[in-house]
């Protein structure tokens, strides 16, 4: 029984004071359906990035929850997000992944929509004998849209708080992904090629892993042994970026459910070499590092490593720099999308090293990620049974160690190895699932 629910049975078990979470959250068909309504039709979701639609008339097909949506740039340069289902009789209007067009024409009866969503062309319109009010039959548009440093977000809920309020100080962690390496604001682009794959795992396994799970390093021992990192060992340049004792790493979280792992330099210190297998690249990062220090001062000390923005967006801040989404795809599957980022003006030689590194680390063929996907697959599968469901999952790591750390926005845990962020994520999830008002959710 959930403790936030005053004893009323919500159909799932959640006792966050004890640190236990019922398995039905990860396998139940009924809860999955309710999530579509209560979570995905309300929360802010990541759609993509403005660099995917640089020109007027560009469109990119994305998803919100289970549903296909269109990200477009109209002829006035305005960005929109629409449901990709024809208002006439439901046909999926656009079955391309991306493209450019003045009009999006439905293949079924030919209704044509301009990229601002208006119904612009109706074949045999006279046959409607003035009954059809074209003003009313444009595309279904999201309630709110936000462009944060190039990343595009949207919600279907007109009551939802503004994006900046929904995110709060989580933005300061997310900035590591979206700002340029030299500390200037924004300036990132998505590399062409979005990885998409279907994983037999509940979507929450991805979200709760990236919200901050140092504990699962265990599962990556094989890749650490092989050493795919840019300096020839491990997975990333963590050690290099955290030299000596001047940097601490902490799990942080926010009341809205967001959380992650970020590092903080306790003092200013000179550049520590990264990408040591590639001297030329290292030189570029050194230059960026110094510019960043200069530009941001003390603020340059914070770097986001990983994180999850509630509910289903996650990121890698530095290595391998990317944004991804765990789209729900039935209770036992998710569709995993990964967008990889670089600075717009990254020299080609640097870009080339980065993209190779991104691909060997991440995605379905990534040496690191393969093992995560396998674990989430079989955790989902092994939690389905009647007997399995009698036993809740254990999230008791690092209980009662919540504190604050100057320089790291949010609540942090005193110890790096904690499941405080997961407990916090499910607390928010619970509030959404109970259909609480935004005032209650955000309080």
């Amino acid at each position: 029984m959930t403790k936030q629910n005053g004893g009323k049975d919500p159909g799932y078990f959640l006792d966050l004071e004890e640190g236990v979470v019922g398995r039905e959250l990860f396998v139940s068909e009924e809860l999955y359906e309710r999530e579509q309504e209560q979570v995905f039709a309300r929360a802010w979701l990541l759609i993509g990035h403005e660099s995917l639609i640089p020109k007027k008339g560009d469109f990119f097909v994305s998803r919100m929850g289970e549903e296909s949506v269109l990200l477009t740039r109209d002829r006035k340069d305005k960005i929109h997000v629409f449901l990709n289902s024809c208002p006439h009789r439901g046909m999926k209007i656009c079955r391309y992944d991306e493209g450019n067009s003045k009009v999006l024409e439905c293949p079924y009866h030919g209704w044509g929509f301009s990229l601002d969503g208006r119904l612009a062309a109706v074949p045999h319109q006279k046959a409607y004998m003035d009954v059809l009010d074209t003003e009313k039959w444009g595309l279904t548009e999201v309630a709110k849209l936000a462009n944060y440093k190039g990343s595009i977000w949207a919600t279907w809920d007109p009551e939802a708080p503004e994006f900046a309020d929904y995110m709060g100080e989580a933005l300061l962690h997310l900035d590591t992904v979206l700002d340029s390496r030299d500390g200037s604001e924004g300036g990132s682009i998505v590399l062409p090629g979005i990885q998409k794959c279907i994983v037999p795992s509940n979507w929450k396994f991805g979200a709760e892993n990236f919200v901050g799970d140092i504990y699962h390093n265990h599962s990556h021992a094989s890749v650490d042994m092989v050493g795919i990192g840019p300096s020839g060992k491990g997975r990333r340049d963590d050690e290099e970026m955290m030299t000596a004792n001047k940097t601490i790493m902490r799990c942080w979280n926010m009341p809205m459910g967001h959380g992650g792992i970020s590092s903080l330099q306790l003092d200013d210190y000179p550049y520590a070499p990264v990408y040591r297998d590639y001297p030329e690249i290292d030189a570029w990062f050194k230059e960026c590092y110094e510019l960043r220090q200069e530009r941001l001062g003390k603020k340059a000390r914070l770097l986001g490593a990983v994180g999850t923005i509630f509910p289903n967006m996650s990121y890698h801040g530095t290595q391998p720099r990317s944004m991804f989404v765990w789209h729900p795809h039935g209770p036992n599957h998710m569709e995993f999308w990964r967008f990889y980022l670089v600075d717009k003006d990254t020299p080609d030689s640097v870009k080339d090293v980065l993209r190779h590194y991104y691909m060997r680390y991440s995605g379905p063929a990534g040496l690191t990620e393969q093992d995560d996907l396998e674990n989430w697959n079989y955790a989902t599968a092994a939690s389905r049974g009647v007997i399995a469901r009698r036993r809740p999952y254990n999230y008791q790591l690092g209980m009662g160690l919540r504190t604050r750390q100057e320089g790291i926005p949010g609540d942090v845990c005193e110890r790096l190895m904690t499941e405080d962020n997961q407990r916090n994520l499910y607390k928010t999830w619970d509030r959404f699932m109970q259909g609480q008002s935004w005032t209650d959710i955000t309080s």
């Binding site: 391309y96 992944d97 062409p192 794959c197 279907i198 037999p200 993209r355 379905p364 063929a365 093992d371």
Partner: protein, 181 residues
């Protein structure tokens, strides 16, 4: 076409076919380090993703680019060797326990020859593949597509210097790509 050239073509095609069959066997028998020896030091091993794009732009945009883009896999010998090493740690959970894999190679065509059919120094080939993967209990995947390979002669042996894999999928229907094409 002269009789002896026709014969030379046949012999070469069947030699390459034998090479690919042996390669498939090495992979399916999990003799990975021997498989690595078939690869040229400068191999480019590339599996682009395929996008849904409008007719007419498909030739240019259907495949994700290797230059400046993201693919499923795009790498050289170092990373391929690391993949083998990772499997051999015995704790690479996505391949532990090992998957049961069978490679079927078919529709082979030698599309280009350097140095003549009789004493070729390099060849380009096209073929189709069907890869069956079964793991743990009942988990099963099929991967079907086209392969474009370039081989070069090194002494008595052929070495694969380019492998481009056109995997006929858009959203990958499998959770991962832990095997070699």
């Amino acid at each position: 076409m002269a009789e002896n050239e026709r014969l030379a073509r046949l012999l070469l095609t069947s030699e390459i076919e034998a090479f690919f069959y042996e390669e498939a066997d090495l992979l399916d028998l999990r003799r990975y380090s021997e498989w690595l020896e078939l690869l040229h030091d400068d191999i480019h091993y590339w599996v682009p993703m395929l996008r849904n794009v409008k007719y007419g732009s498909h030739e240019q945009y259907e495949e994700t680019p290797t230059k400046g883009g993201i693919s499923w896999i795009d790498e050289g010998l170092t990373t391929l060797t690391q993949r083998v090493q990772q499997i051999e740690t015995g704790i690479h959970w996505a391949e532990e326990p090992l998957s049961r894999i069978s490679h079927l190679v078919t529709n082979l065509r030698v599309s280009k020859v350097e140095g003549g059919w009789e004493k070729p120094t390099a060849v380009d080939t096209r073929c189709r593949f069907l890869i069956y993967r079964n793991r743990v209990e009942t988990e099963t995947d099929f991967f079907v597509g086209k392969r474009e390979d370039s081989l070069v002669r090194q002494g008595d042996n052929w070495k694969i210097i380019k492998r481009k894999v056109i995997l006929d999928q858009n959203v990958l229907t499998a959770k991962n790509l832990t095997f070699f094409f």
